[in-house]
């Protein structure tokens, strides 16, 4: 559908509805046959693919879709250097990299870093896009000028996870990134200040499914641990503790009361909390254990036989 046909009209028949001829690329007046517009750009597919051809990629469209916010706004070509690339390909890519705009280069570099990190923890494409958008906004404001670009990308990814409602702990982001938690934390605070966004506070429940899944704990224990953590916060037993530690201690208590017992060390490793922290927080929960468990919980080890620390 070319838009140019709308502004054209036949000089002899101004009111006539023009007809498009795709094969010749012409706009023709049906009354007199005059060719009113020619050389129309066809925006149909570049290749035709047939059902009996089984190929991995569908070549009907050549090239990736345009990424206006994130990538460069012009219609430039980027050279991709793959596995079987020759000398010529490499030199072409180098030449293009040298001549590319600094801002766009940083952007594409960050996008590749974000994609790499997201792949390792299996994050959805929407989170990657959100992180890239955040990075673009931050790049435009230049507040993170001096900071390590990997730290910036990691901070953007952390913010994206939190915004989408599936927060990842700083330690989890640290595990897939090369920067320290301190650097990510610094960049994170700077980004929040410059973008003036307010993020929701993290709660223990956000992490329950992931931690329990990694520990292969059944759903019942996960539900019990979620309830323990929620009740503990309501009863204010764990005053200054990080929600991660509370989640870890709740999982410890729930698993110790069930058939599948996990040690504090294992839970600490999965949650990113120290073993002593898990035990300390568990000690705070222990006195009120009876109130914390859900009513319908099936105890393999009764409450009075739970470990003391």
């Amino acid at each position: 559908l070319s838009g140019s046909g709308m502004s054209l009209s036949c000089p002899n028949h101004p009111g006539a509805h023009l007809v498009e001829d795709h094969r010749a690329g012409d706009v023709i007046c049906p009354e007199c046959g005059l060719v009113v517009g020619d050389r129309l750009v066809d925006v149909g597919t570049e290749w035709r693919s047939f059902s009996n051809e089984r190929s991995g990629t569908d070549p009907s469209r050549v090239g990736a879709p345009e990424n206006p916010l994130l990538g460069s706004s012009d219609l430039s070509t980027s050279i991709a250097v793959g596995f079987g690339s020759s000398e010529g390909d490499q030199s072409l890519a180098n030449a293009q990299r040298k001549s590319m705009n600094n801002l766009d280069r940083q952007m594409t570099q960050a996008m590749s870093v974000i994609r790499e990190m997201s792949e390792r923890i299996h994050l959805a494409k929407s989170i990657q896009d959100q992180a890239a958008r955040t990075f673009r906004d931050v790049l435009d404001t230049k507040v993170l000028k001096g900071k390590n670009s990997e730290a910036q990308a990691a901070a953007c990814l952390y913010i994206a996870c939190r915004k989408e409602g599936v927060p990842r702990t700083f330690k989890e982001i640290c595990a897939v990134s090369r920067v320290s938690k301190k650097d990510i934390g610094k960049c994170f605070k700077l980004i929040l200040k410059s973008l003036e966004t307010n993020l929701e506070q993290i709660t223990s429940a956000d992490f329950m499914s992931r931690f329990c899944g990694n520990l292969d704990l059944p759903n019942m224990i996960q539900a019990a641990a979620t309830r323990i953590a929620k009740k503990a916060v309501e009863l204010d037993l764990v005053a200054g503790r990080s929600p991660i530690s509370i989640a870890a201690a709740a999982i410890y208590m729930a698993s110790q009361a069930s058939a599948t017992k996990k040690s504090a060390r294992e839970i600490g490793e999965i949650a990113g909390a120290a073993e002593v922290t898990v035990k300390q927080t568990y000690r705070l929960l222990y006195p009120k254990a009876a109130q914390l468990f859900p009513e319908d919980f099936r105890f393999d080890t009764p409450i009075d036989q739970l470990p003391l620390s």
Binding site: T169, F170, K189, Q201, I202, D236
Partner: protein, 373 residues
Amino acid sequence: LQMNSPASHLGSGLGGDTPSHHHGLGGPSSILGGGPSSMLNSHLSGPGSVMGMGLMSNQGPGSVLGPGSILGPSSILGPSSINMGGSHLMANIAAGLLLSQQGPSSLYVGSATDRGPASNMNLNINPGSVMNMGGGPGSVFQDHNPGSVGPSNLAVPMTPLAGDVLERYAHGTQALSHSAIPTTAMSAAPASVLDIPSPTLQNIVSTVNLGVQLDLKKIALHARNAEYNPKRFAAVIMRIREPRTTALIFSSGKMVCTGAKSEEASRLAARKYARIVQKLGFAAKFTEFKVQNMVGSCDVRFPIQLEGLCITHGQFSTYEPELFPGLIYRMVKPRVVLLIFVSGKVVITGAKFKKEIDDAFSQIYPILKGFKK
């Protein structure tokens, strides 16, 4: 009401002056209608505007009526004070403008040219009468500025600013009768109800210029309690026992003195270090002594809901339990940072004067009371 008596006393003393000087503040409705910036412009003109400009530059995303950043004196009177009538709010903002100046001496700067010296002392009465409500029954006039306030000063002729402020103060408190239960309770039995703790200074960092090039190696060799490791840090680290402080002495002659518990102690310690350097044979002088940072701490003695505080005061607060267990509150009006913990302990830092620490704590205290667990 104890609170009213000094104010009304002053108000009556103003009777003859105020009508002719009302242009200064105008009517309450006109000022509030104009908004905070216009209030400041009409209120402070000329050299006095140094305070106005200062105030405006400090206005963060919150407005004048925003979270506790400007209502210095009014916040002491308890949460009901925030709902006061317009005139009282104006009065308190005016008082707050002057109050939040750094130190007594600066109060004289802006007002010296257009008002007599007497008015400065009268203006100090406001801080005295408001800030010391927590001090107990007899302490209404026990100001921090001992020389400036006294019953004898009250009879001095007032200038428009002070007069209007105090008159409105008097009117405002009377208008508050319906919601004045906390204030009346306060003035009736201040000692028992107003047990607001006051912050104690923990650390003072100051710098001084000794004015002469120093040979650090010689200092390190001859002085006791000095360490010098040029590969690690390019300064001599010297310590003295009384006042217990540490000094970093650089080869340019500049020195940083840390660890003192009061401004006087910091100055004394810096002088002692300068004396030590002098005794080692350098022509040390004691110039440009300046307190760079003061850290104070306090305990509000009740647990605090940091989550709620972070949500309501989101523009000033940062609370990331993964990164730091306390809430970081960046206050705008005295530009200080407060670290607020769940236990109720508060650390105030970034101040250059003790007054800033006290102001900051007095502003944050009612906010924290609202988030008591």
